[in-house]
Symmetry: C2
Subunit: 324 residues, 2 copies
């Protein structure tokens, strides 16, 4: 029988849990609310329950699984399995691995969620067959992770926080306390925010009619208005794509990836966003980087985090794992 492991993607809103084969096939999957306000122990308990449920419903006993891989937002010390700080959850210096190992009696590996997402896309999604895979996720914010020669890059543990790269010409306040951070524009939240601002500024746009209040506008509303040729939505999407392209130009000149994968909720804008992003990126990078470089949407968008976490757990915890 093929090896399998549990992959868990702990988000601010939902916890996604899946049972994944070593080939990256999803054998079982479920999603439940995180309810982070109930505290860390509650969140850990939900994960443990989901693992039991996976075993019952799949018919594969827990001892038949290699272990559990956890992807969660924030700064993670993957060697100790401690969540040092998490922006969307209340975790702070919390021993995730220790608690979950104790609750489930299974080995656990913990990593940053964006890294696990990109690891999933690299191993079993759009990045297969590439050695240097750069991935970005556009959600509440935007972050990057990459695989270098088949190895996950971590820096000192908090690499890839591109959402808080500042642009002098941007003036929006960021949740981090900074001004002009990339993610005030390039993120699902940034798209919604720009739509809100356009409506508040009285710009003539169908965005003004879509919701009861401009606060309720979403990234999807911008895509919908774009598809109906709304000029304000088109301008927002082009501006957002242009800044995504600028950020990509920096990342390419620094990291020299073979392929760039754009995922996360904000990436559901698809070519509306990727077309201006590609144009800007290719205009700004040196020609020597052009050959063979592609910018593609994620192939396993909603599942990549779960798949990546599970495959990572197999690599870290499986028979013959080096523990690196």
């Amino acid at each position: 029988m093929t090896a399998c492991a549990i992959g868990v993607d702990i988000g601010g809103t939902n916890i996604q849990c899946g049972l994944v084969s070593e080939e990256g096939a999803l054998l079982w999957m479920n999603s439940v609310p995180t309810e982070a306000y109930k505290g860390n122990e509650h969140v850990m308990g939900v994960v443990a329950e989901q693992v039991d449920l996976a075993a019952r419903q799949s018919g594969i006993p827990k001892h038949g699984m290699t272990g559990i891989g956890i992807g969660m937002p924030g700064a993670i010390d993957s060697e100790t399995g401690v969540c040092i700080q998490s922006s969307n959850l209340a975790f702070r210096n919390y021993p995730v691995r220790e608690r979950l190992q104790s609750m489930t009696s299974m080995p656990v590996a913990v990593e940053n969620d964006v890294r696990m997402y990109v690891y999933g896309e690299a191993a079993a999604g759009a990045g297969q067959s590439h050695r240097n895979v750069l991935g970005l996720t556009l959600g509440t914010g935007v972050a990057a992770a990459w695989i270098h020669n088949g190895e996950l890059y971590r820096g000192g543990g908090i690499s890839g926080e591109i959402g808080h790269i500042r642009f002098e010409e941007l003036h929006e306040s960021c949740t981090c306390g900074g001004i002009g951070c990339l993610e005030t524009i390039v993120s699902a939240t940034g798209l919604a925010l720009q739509a809100k601002q356009a409506v508040m500024n009285g710009e003539r746009s169908m965005l003004a009619e879509l919701r009861g209040s401009p606060d309720q506008l979403t990234a999807k509303d911008v895509s919908d208005a774009y598809d109906r040729q709304d000029p304000v939505a088109i301008a927002i999407m082009n501006r957002t794509g242009t800044y995504l392209g600028k950020a990509l130009s920096y990342l390419v000149q620094i990291l020299d990836p073979d392929i760039i994968i754009i995922g996360g909720g904000g990436a559901k804008a698809g070519e509306r966003l990727l077309t201006p992003a590609r144009e800007t990126m290719f205009r700004l990078i040196q020609p020597i980087y052009h050959e063979g470089l592609s910018v593609v949407p994620a192939a396993r968008n909603d599942e990549a985090g779960v798949i990546g976490s599970a495959l990572w757990a197999m690599r870290k915890l499986g028979a013959g794992a080096s523990g690196k």
Copy 2:
């Protein structure tokens, strides 16, 4: 006896060649003009001659050396030892390793010069005892290289070309054909260029008196005028340091290094440049990156390229080398 290897730093102006022990000690060193206009074969011949000279003058025979490490500018395929493209030399798809192995009967490893410089600083200079070392060299241009968990990062082979990251608010033409590239400001050449422009614009500065023509001004002239409180030189240094700090803020948010080493000719400006660079960088990065992060000058500035190339050769070519 301890192992040793030849390290060679091939620059546009000079070729530096050294015999280096496995502890990073420089046993012998020499510098000769590159005379690149005489062609690639000439340059290879000069390197081969220097290797013979090193053997004769040090008393260590060639067969007592592990091999030769070459650091040279441009895009290098380190697996084949081919120089794909080199901006300051005429090399283009030239088999450096093959030619030198044939000329010297010694094993040869070839890498990009900035990577070898940073490898030297990481192994035997300011980066010792750190796992994630980022280094920048400021010369004709500016480029970066880094060690991630003790391993040299290469991307697809042309990572670290930060000199050609563009800034919207900069308008200077770059040698690459782009507009507003970082290295039009942040480099030894950029410092000299800003001094020239200030004089041409009629700004009141002692820079106007230092040379017969503004074209002859150098980065060192800017440092000298700075030390004599020349306000134009101070403004140039602050502006350059500020852009260096901006670039560092991007690199920190992306790569999360433990230490940043600034080297190359332009780094001889020292604290005149590093003080505004640090201030800007720490203002722009997120607080979570602050702890333990330092920005320091290179410790073995003029020798780091030679030392790094030699230590790299020992790692790649020595007994027990994995070839990785």
